[in-house]
């Protein structure tokens, strides 16, 4: 499948700000599931900094905008060919030991609810792959897709207790549950092409990856009860949403920030 991405993120400030600095993780991962055709990331009036590929295989690029800064506009335009690898991150070069993904963060802190769920639904299973599938299904059932009831700071435990949330919450809850039974897990950010059946989800999407010994990293999208296929574009990963964020940035000053994001994903008919 050939997908096009048009993604504009605009940070507008009510008063002119000092310098803005950003760290972008907006580049498609290199693995058998995707082949980049063209990909351009720019910041209006921005100065490109250094870029590198980190130990997790993600490309990161630094940018800055000189003061005064009224707004920062980050644009991603790209075209990419995708393939269904049944969620398996095959051919992805990375160095980080899977065990480094057993660490808790405040967003993926495991409470009794998460620990109990993880233990109950995987009882009697010995295969990590089975456990991962079972966990993903259980989280999808336990948290109903409901926009606007959670925010960026909602933790996995809170989302589960509430029983509602968006893809970030599903991913966090699945990661936390997996780690609680010693399965390394991480947060993945990317894009998802809207499906024709109208299932609810966002084009800027997030899911989880779980490490299965013998296979490697496998993606699980609990929000859509599936594994990522050719409708998904993978950008980067981290211990939680904050670490995997496609854009991390600051602008100096006390101004109020307004965020405006538009993401359009299209499929090129062949």
């Amino acid at each position: 499948m050939i997908l096009t991405v048009d993604h504009v993120t605009k940070y507008a400030y009510d008063v002119p700000m000092g310098a803005a600095v950003q760290s972008l993780r907006l580049f498609p991962s290199r693995f058998e599931g995707q082949r980049e055709i063209e990909w351009l990331v720019t910041i209006e009036n921005g100065i490109r900094g250094g870029s590198f590929r980190d130990g997790a295989g993600d490309k990161v690029e630094g940018w800055s905008v000189r003061p005064p800064v009224d707004e920062v506009v980050v644009t991603v335009r790209g075209k990419i060919e995708t393939f269904d690898t049944s969620g398996v991150l095959r051919g992805h070069r990375e160095l980080v030991h899977p065990m480094a993904y057993l660490r808790e963060t405040s967003a993926t802190w495991v409470d009794d609810g998460l620990a109990k769920l993880a233990e109950e639904v995987t009882q009697g299973l010995s295969e990590p792959l089975q456990k991962a599938h079972r966990l993903s299904a259980a989280i999808g059932e336990a948290i109903a897709y409901t926009p606007d009831v959670t925010d960026a700071h909602t933790t996995a435990a809170e989302a589960l207790a509430q029983g509602q949330g968006v893809c970030q919450d599903h991913a966090h809850a699945l990661i936390a549950a997996a780690r609680s039974i010693d399965l390394p897990a991480r947060y993945v950010s990317g894009y998802l092409l809207a499906s024709e059946d109208g299932a609810p989800h966002e084009a800027a999407h997030a899911w989880a990856e779980i490490w299965v010994q013998g296979i490697g990293w496998i993606g699980f999208d609990a929000a859509n009860s599936c594994c990522p296929d050719e409708r998904y574009i993978r950008l980067g990963s981290g211990l939680d949403a904050r670490e995997a964020a496609p854009i991390r940035g600051v602008a100096q000053g006390g101004g109020e920030e307004r965020l405006d994001v538009t993401v359009a994903l299209g499929q090129v008919q062949q």
């Binding site: 760290s23 900094g49 590929r53 130990g55 800055s64 991390r248």
Partner: protein, 470 residues
Amino acid sequence: MTDYFNEMFDGGKVRPPYNGLDGWTREMPAEFRAMKQAEAEALFRRIGITFAVYGEGGDPDRLIPFDMFPRVFTQMEWRKLERGIKQRARALNAFLLDVYGRGEIVRAGRIPARLVYQNDAYERAVSGFVPPRGIYSHIVGIDLVRTGPDQFYVLEDNCRTPSGVSYMLENREIMMRMFPNLFRENRIEPVDGYADALRRTMASVAPAKCDAEPTIAILTPGHFNSAYYEHSFLADLMGVELVEGADLFVEGGFCWMRTTEGPKKLDVIYRRIDDAFLDPLCFRPDSMLGVPGLMDVYRSGGVTICSAPGAGVADDKAIYTYVPEMVRFYLGEEPLLENVPTWQCAKKDDCKYVLEHLPELVIKEVHGSGGYGMLVGPKSTKEQIEAFRHKIIDDPDNYIAQPTLALSTTPTFVEEGVAPRHVDLRPYCLVGDKIELVPGGLTRVALTEGSLVVNSSQGGGVKDTWVLAE
């Protein structure tokens, strides 16, 4: 009664290193001594060196007691120590490069993966990055204790930013000012080359993108930090800028320093702030001390950070147990310096032993420092021991235990004259294009009679440390 090794007296005989000091003290009248002690204190106050060592907290304006009785090593003793310290510094750096790379030591089963990769100090953000010359820890502070003429043990390694070196330099400076004769009569190796050596070390790890004489700066959290004195002292001696996060910014893949003549590119940063505060875009988002975007510049090779972020994974107390293994694995050598035998309460058998022998052991927190959160069995009451027993049972992973070491003593000026007091030693090893060790270090002394705790927060003082020339 434990027999402690006295570094000056072997029975009634004076050991050779102290020959030059025997007469000095015996002939020193009490009034003269009191006068000199007051003079030393006034000098320390004047230069403003009042900070707490090793991030121990406490009153930042409190003067750490200075003992005028030097601690002395012969050239031969020192050479042996030096070889052991350099070996250890090499192994620790090899370990860091490895665990942020392929992790061969873990694959070989020589160290448990969990200890490395689930360690709080393991920075996933720098995995895969190779710093200039592959060096992570450019200043390795190795804490040593002595139990016999030839017996030294490493208490702990400090791979991040070991502090206290300004004491080493100031103690010498003040001794030379107060007792010039001593330095004429004894041939003592100088320590004042430290600042130059540190500067050379930093310059030697400038990033590949730096094509001129590298610009170096010391990054401090600011004047409220307990070690601020040391930061400004070293910047002065090295002839480099002392900067705070707000003085720096990133642009175009480089780090820049604001100066009156406009921005100046910075090549090497000797940071005296913790990883967590270095860059709010990479680590703690609420940090006001760091430089946003610095880690992207660092990881794309625009600037060098000393010590490298992530270096802390080599120096926690659980990893410590495996340092001799690192020496064997990476260098193919036998370790020259011994570790203190350590029981890890995380291991069932070890924990059982520890709980059965609490009154004999020293118990430490895995991530503790500064002599806090510690139990010295032989010096504790039954209640204190029982309280610790519960702590260990509740959270065994958090504790290690070591035998109570018979720390050596050196003569120390006390109220009633001269008396033996227990000491340790922290030499500072520099790692760059070469590995250097200034002959000396910081000797800490437990001023309370019988005390084995040398930390300044627990009544410890400092001494000048001599290495005699041949």
